[in-house]
């Protein structure tokens, strides 16, 4: 693994905003903590499902959604710590091969919500290599805004997945941008946008 200065790492808000620009009819699931704030800061949307807990579960929510909605692109945006808690899920996604699913891990190498303790990705573990080894159709790492801009069109594809990408973002907590925390509201809003009635 190449060790890069924090200076070379991207601002996570800028990175997420660029990824979700022109999102079209993309369905988005976020992992707890900063990833949820980043996606909310990029613009709230009825088809954003923000998780505030359920650590390790974001990619699996994305899998169930991608299987249920094969004609919509599904993007999971989460952090390195959240995904590390669900490593087995990478294997589960790989064997299901959902062509419309992209997993984006914002990798700052630390647990930002709890005091900035180093995570495994700062200690030599490359998540994208694990994703590649489980059999993701594509797996890589984005290091510049130009690379993110080029990758953006991948997110709206319905075939060719599952895709995995790590985005190397700077550590440190940005001002919080807090989406709604009420899960029932988020669920019903998400489903209503897809045309499903509330029970």
């Amino acid at each position: 693994m190449t060790v890069a200065d924090d200076l070379e790492r991207l601002n996570r808000r800028d990175a997420v905003r660029e990824l979700l620009r022109d999102r079209g009819d993309t369905l988005v699931v976020t992992g707890l903590g900063s990833s949820s704030y980043d996606v909310f800061a990029a613009g709230d949307h009825d088809n954003n499902m923000y998780l505030w807990g359920a650590m390790g579960g974001a990619a699996m929510v994305g899998l169930g959604l991608a299987l249920a909605q094969p004609r919509r692109p599904v993007v999971v945006i989460t952090g390195d710590g959240e995904q590390l808690m669900g490593l087995g899920g990478l294997a589960t996604i790989s064997v299901k091969k959902p062509g419309n699913l992209t997993l984006v891990v914002l990798d700052n190498g630390q647990y930002g919500e709890t005091g900035g303790q180093k995570s495994h990705t700062a200690l030599g573990v490359d998540l994208y290599r694990i994703a590649a080894a489980t059999g993701f159709a594509s797996a890589g790492e984005l290091r510049t805004m130009t690379e993110i801009g080029s990758y953006r069109t991948e997110l709206t594809k319905l075939t060719g997945g599952p895709r995995y990408v790590s985005v190397r973002v700077a550590a440190g907590n940005l001002p919080r941008a807090l989406p709604a925390r009420d899960g029932v509201f988020l669920k019903n809003r998400f489903r209503a946008r897809l045309g499903f009635q509330v029970n």
Binding site: L27, V29, M49, L51, W52, G53, A54, M55, G56, G57, A58, M60, V61, G62, L63, G64, L65, A66, L67, A68, Q69, G86, G88, G89, A91, T92, V95, K96, G183, V184, L186, K187, F190, R191, L194, G195, F196, N199
Partner: protein, 174 residues
């Protein structure tokens, strides 16, 4: 456990009638026949899991996308689900779990007993309704009742299939 029990076929029939279209599982001998039936059905997406909590989150995602899901697991896997059940509780997602019991009737492996003894309590502690079934005759009605509670009333429901129903595990060297 035989390969031709009637009750797994009954569960499959009830799930089909309920329009369940996603099924995820960590394999268990007690669910082997049902897993085969689900795999053979092209209208049902089957997902093999590395740990049971993945299936909780998949069920939530399926519902977000307008589909009904079922999670098949063994009693030991209930312990793996505990924190992920907060996703179901917070969002009031429907959840249908079919739990095959170990660690009770004629259990030969003591390592199955602690989690088996705590399975129903653990589910209840996390807000999951438990419907226990001890005889084959009760199975269809119990699963049907769980389906109604889950998908009509947005509840988390588990059908707990007793080890006596499933039968003694054949474990001696062949």
């Amino acid at each position: 456990m035989t390969n031709n029990s009637v009750w797994p076929k009954e569960i499959y029939r009830v799930l089909k009638e309920a329009r369940v279209s996603q099924a995820s599982y960590v394999p268990d001998a007690g669910h082997a026949q049902l897993i085969e039936l689900l795999h053979a059905d092209p209208e049902i997406q089957t997902t093999v899991l590395t740990t049971e909590e993945e299936g909780i989150a998949i069920a939530a995602g399926a519902w977000l996308g307008g589909q009904r899901a079922v999670l098949l697991l063994q009693s030991s896997g209930v312990g793996n689900c505990v924190n992920m059940l907060s996703l179901i509780s917070n969002c009031r997602f429907p959840l249908l779990m079919l739990v095959t019991m170990r660690g009770e009737w004629a259990e030969f492996n003591p390592w199955q007993v602690p989690m088996g003894s705590a399975t129903q309590s653990a589910l209840q502690l996390m807000g999951v309704t438990t419907i226990r079934v001890d005889t084959a005759e009760e199975v269809p009605e119990a699963v049907s009742a769980a389906v109604a509670m889950a998908f009509d009333a947005d509840q988390a429901v588990s059908v707990v299939l007793s080890q006596r129903l499933i039968g003694r595990k054949q474990w001696e060297a062949r």
